[in-house]
Symmetry: C2
Subunit: 93 residues, 2 copies
DNA sequence: AATCTATTTAGAAAAATTTCTAAATAGTTT
DNA sequence: AAACTATTTAGAAATTTTTCTAAATAGATT
């Protein structure tokens, strides 16, 4: 996982919305797309960005592609943020 | 604070690097710039993005502009991420 | 096998971001 | 006040991202 890829993926509002939608259930590409005012091709692009960033993974069933959260990467991001907590050695200069 | 702005700001490697540099000490724009292979103007642009995202704030002293972390926004981002932890109601579908 | 349904890929246009050089600003020192 | 130092702003070029339409793929159904 690269933080560059992960944060880039998180930097788009539609992609963050998709992640929120996937919190409680896996959804097909089409189902995800129907929540947005964009073409299926565009949604597919956003899903590919999330996938490359390992924020989601897909499983295929019939001719549907289901997406779900990959929570493990969230843990790693939390660790990155943890760097900014607490260890304020030289409080002020 | 807008998550759009915050995550956009975090999506650039130089800007993440700047945030890491600011963990323990405030630094002037020039000092920050000397760690990168880019012009002062470019560094100034990145600092302005971080500032707009409320990830840093500046204080002026003499003709130096010092930057330091605004840790409160980090807390809010952590809260955003917390949405993805634990509350897995419908485990699988 | 032909058609239909769901999704992705390709290629192009539009929009946003990143970077630079040159000039402007603002405060400091001589 | 003139010159200097630190930083920002303006404007332009290069790059990347986002979006679309049209075509391609792949599996399912008739």
């Amino acid at each position: 996982m690269s933080f560059a890829e992960t944060f880039k993926a998180l930097s788009d509002p539609a992609r963050r919305e998709i992640l929120l939608m996937l919190r409680n259930k896996k959804m097909s590409a089409g189902e995800i797309g129907s929540h947005f005012d964009m073409t299926g091709a565009t949604v597919s692009y956003h899903l590919s960005v999330l996938k490359k960033a390992d924020l989601v993974y897909e499983t295929k069933q019939k001719n549907f592609v289901y997406y779900e959260l990959n929570t493990s990467v969230f843990e790693e991001i939390m660790l990155w943020f943890a760097q900014f907590k607490g260890e304020n050695s030289d409080e002020n200069q």
